[in-house]
């Protein structure tokens, strides 16, 4: 059978060595989000400064025609490229996830594409012809650029928010119910506030590089600082976002998962520092900010963005699309079938490594199919280290009842032999891959016990049951 014909799509899996796949997509994603959000806020800031310039502040016009517009240009081009890179890296991590997103939202994605094309055209036209254009045309061009870049955010935000909170879409509400989902509005407003703040911070850095007396730079900085004001709304928006999250996701962010809680803390702490400086220092006390301090705040903003994106990704667990697709790229409805057939019965792709026994080879295939999206064996989030001190029976129990072991893990989508194969693989890896594995084949009683544990755990996730997804989706 050709790999193209299998009922459940099996895709080839790439090994990134000690790098967890989430780190790969996270790295590209954070860079993309940071640049794209700056390009949005930067566009708005340019429109505002152009307006100031036309109302008699010549330094504002100098700012618009100077280095800043180059930064915006660089950002939207690299933002575009990293956007394409996001597609490619998402395919590496979860091809079924991106496929489902494309299937459900392709017309909205195409809509976003149109706005992005307008953004690129308007931005480049201003960059190239701006100095020779009349004031009104300049202002309109910048307004179009700012609007188009924000519209691009508007559309993509709805699609990303749907992954976490599909809302009434799960009850068959259709594409608009999915798009205008519970976290759509807080997420959009939050990202808009981040965008304007990033624009303000980069603006402050560029103003410091301008060849102007300090008092004239200070006047520009006071203007730019106004764009950081929306950061004051972030605590409320963050609480709103938390309130609309599913209860289990919220519990992991608020202490249930220490890693995620720490990232929430990093994002909140960095945002608090930036907001405090911007609101109290720049806006209320009208302090001067030098280039070094503005750069430091921008670095903090990058840290906050990185932590925030980690939180957004982590809060979806055990799903990549809540209620529809697990992080293993398996649909909830497919788990029962895989419990019967085995996790890799339909997997057409062979292993790259050689294993001394068939059981270990099976374990490697099961690990590749069910664990590899979020774990490595010896690198980041390493299975061998996570389970090093467990007894064999403890390991069997915890794998068989995976969704009970950790609430953010999906149910084990394989049979008793698969569980035992993974147990033996982890033991073999822990022992340094000996040429002759010590383990004897599992007894029928052991396999029967694992099967009982699998049955007890069931095929449902630990948190909310999968949504009543329209039949066509399941």
């Amino acid at each position: 059978m050709s790999p193209i014909d299998s009922t459940i799509p099996y895709y080839p899996v790439n090994d990134f060595g000690p790098l967890m796949k989430g780190l790969v997509i996270g790295g590209v994603g954070i860079l993309h989000v940071f640049l794209a959000q700056f390009a949005i806020g930067g566009g708005m800031l340019m429109w505002y400064f152009e307006r100031l310039g036309q109302r008699g502040e010549p330094d504002a016009r100098t700012f618009v025609d100077g280095y800043f517009k180059v930064l915006v240009l660089v950002s939207f081009v690299v933002g575009a490229l990293t956007g394409v890179a996001m597609w490619f890296t998402t395919i590496q991590v979860g091809a079924r996830t991106i496929g489902l997103m494309i299937d459900e939202f392709h017309w909205l994605w195409a809509t976003e594409w149109v706005w992005f094309a307008v953004e690129i055209t308007a931005g480049y036209a201003f960059y190239r012809h701006g100095p020779r254009l009349a004031g009104r045309a300049r202002l309109r061009l910048l307004a179009l650029y700012a609007l188009a870049s924000w519209m691009s955010l508007f559309w993509i935000n709805g699609i990303l928010a749907w992954q976490l909170t599909p809302g009434r879409w799960l009850d068959g509400g259709g594409v608009w119910a999915g798009f205008f989902n519970p976290s759509f509005a807080p997420s959009l407003l939050f990202r808009t506030a981040v965008s304007t703040t990033l624009g303000a911070l980069v603006g402050c850095i560029v103003i410091n590089a301008m060849d102007l007396p300090r008092e004239r730079r200070a006047a520009l900085i006071r203007r730019a600082a106004r764009f950081a004001a929306p950061i004051a709304a972030m605590p409320v928006l963050a609480l709103w976002f938390l309130a609309v999250l599913p209860a289990d996701s919220r519990s992991w962010l608020l202490g249930g998962s220490m890693a995620m809680t720490m990232f929430v803390g990093v994002a909140a702490g960095a945002s608090f520092l930036i907001g405090g400086y911007a609101i109290v220092g720049l806006i209320v006390q009208r302090l001067y900010i030098n280039g070094a301090t503005a750069t430091l705040l921008l670095g903090l903003a990058f840290g906050a963005t990185a932590a925030g994106e980690f939180v957004r990704e982590g809060a979806r667990k055990p799903y990549t699309v809540r209620g529809v697709l697990y992080s293993t790229s398996i649909r909830p409805a497919e788990v029962a079938a895989l419990r019967a057939s085995g996790a890799t019965a339909g997997d057409p792709y062979p292993l790259h490594d050689r294993y001394p026994t068939e059981q270990l080879a099976r374990g490697a295939k099961v690990e590749r199919a069910l664990c590899d999206a979020c774990h490595t064996l010896h690198g980041a989030n390493a299975l061998v280290e996570l389970t090093r001190t467990w007894t064999d029976d403890q390991l069997r129990l915890n794998l068989a009842k995976l969704q009970r072991t950790k609430g953010f893990m999906p149910p084990f989508a394989g049979n008793a032999e698969d569980v035992e194969a993974v147990v033996q693989l982890l033991r073999w890896e822990r022992d340094g891959r000996p040429a002759t594995p010590a383990a004897a084949p599992a007894s029928p009683e052991t396999l029967a016990q694992i099967a009982r544990w699998l049955d007890e755990a069931g095929t449902e996730p630990a948190g909310d049951p999968p949504g009543r997804v329209p039949g066509r989706v399941q």
Binding site: G99, H106, T121, A122
Partner: protein
């Protein structure tokens, strides 16, 4: 409705996806042709140290054309994932990081184009780097196209850990594209050109069309022949050949009389050849279009896209008009 948009590949939704895929692909092809062939042309001019006004204009526009080309490429990339989802994802995964290298190559190419524009001293190096980057991207896309088709070989490719797909069809395909890129670049660049420049571009276009024809003939011969009497693309191949011949004749006329109507005819014929060529390129794999997933067929949002597209086209037209008023 004409084949293949007559529902023969599925329902009306699939036909619409296909039409949008091919239309956005053709637009993308024009822009990336200007980038790849333009960078190559500017590189040759820089190596020869000739003060070529075509090369100067091209250098000036290359960064924008690359940005526009990449943006235009998002459209076909989107519809490709609807039509050939499993094949596209599998090919991506099989080629792995080596496929992902197209992104840093494009970023390097983009900054090299800016360097070529800004620095005369580093121009040759920058254009060399940019041309190499774009050649790598073109090679990679051609390779990916072939991997998508070769589902029988996926298992072996994965087992061997191969990241390169050395298919005999890749070189002829690249040669066809190289010729087409020269012709498209010439058609776009000839409009603001002087009479002498148009003559040079006519030569370039004719060379491109010749390369395209020769490479196509070789590819057809290797593939068992392409009899016009049994056009596998339902007349599109005939249209492609007719358009290419008309374009060649019109370019010859332009070379003879640069101020005449030859350029208009050459441009129209090149556009027709591009559209027909896009369909002919797609024809062999139309049978591989995956059975449409119900989720995708039922997805809403088409009216919003249609309205936004109209607004977007109007907005871009306004931007172009505004920019031209400043030029």
């Amino acid at each position: 409705m004409m084949w293949p948009f007559d529902g023969s590949i599925g329902g009306p939704v699939e036909s619409l996806w296909l039409a949008l895929y091919l239309a956005s692909f053709a637009l993308h092809a024009v822009l990336v042709s200007c980038v790849a062939a333009g960078a190559g042309y500017a590189l040759v001019a820089a190596v020869r140290r000739s003060a070529d006004p075509i090369a100067a204009r091209t250098r000036d526009w290359l960064p924008f054309l690359l940005g526009a080309g990449i943006t235009a490429g998002v459209g076909p990339l989107l519809f490709l994932q609807l039509l050939y989802q499993r094949r596209f994802y599998t090919a991506n995964l099989l080629m792995g990081p080596r496929w992902g290298a197209v992104v840093p190559a494009l970023i390097a190419g983009f900054y090299a184009l800016y360097l070529a524009k800004a620095s005369e001293r580093r121009r040759r190096l920058a254009l060399g780097v940019a041309t190499a980057c774009f050649a790598f991207v073109a090679w990679s896309w051609t390779e990916l196209h072939q991997v998508m088709l070769d589902d029988a070989g996926w298992r072996a490719m994965y087992a061997a850990g191969e990241r390169f797909h050395t298919d005999a069809a890749i070189l002829p395909r690249l040669a066809i594209w190289s010729g087409a890129m020269l012709a498209l670049f010439a058609a776009v660049s000839a409009w603001p050109a002087t009479a002498a420049e148009r003559r040079r571009l006519a030569g370039l276009a004719l060379a491109g069309l010749l390369l395209c024809g020769a490479a196509s003939a070789i590819a057809a011969a290797r593939g068992g022949g392409l009899a016009l009497a049994h056009d596998p693309a339902h007349g599109w191949t005939s249209l492609l050949i007719a358009a290419a011949v008309i374009a060649a004749l019109a370019w010859a006329w332009t070379a003879h009389r640069p101020g005449g109507r030859g350029l208009s005819i050459a441009t129209a014929a090149t556009a027709a050849a591009l559209i027909a060529g896009s369909v002919v390129r797609e024809a062999p794999r139309l049978a591989l279009i995956e059975r449409a997933r119900a989720t995708a067929v039922d997805a809403g949002g088409l009216p919003v896209f249609a309205v936004t597209l109209a607004i977007g086209i109007a907005a871009i037209a306004w931007v172009v008009r505004t920019a031209r008023s400043a030029a």
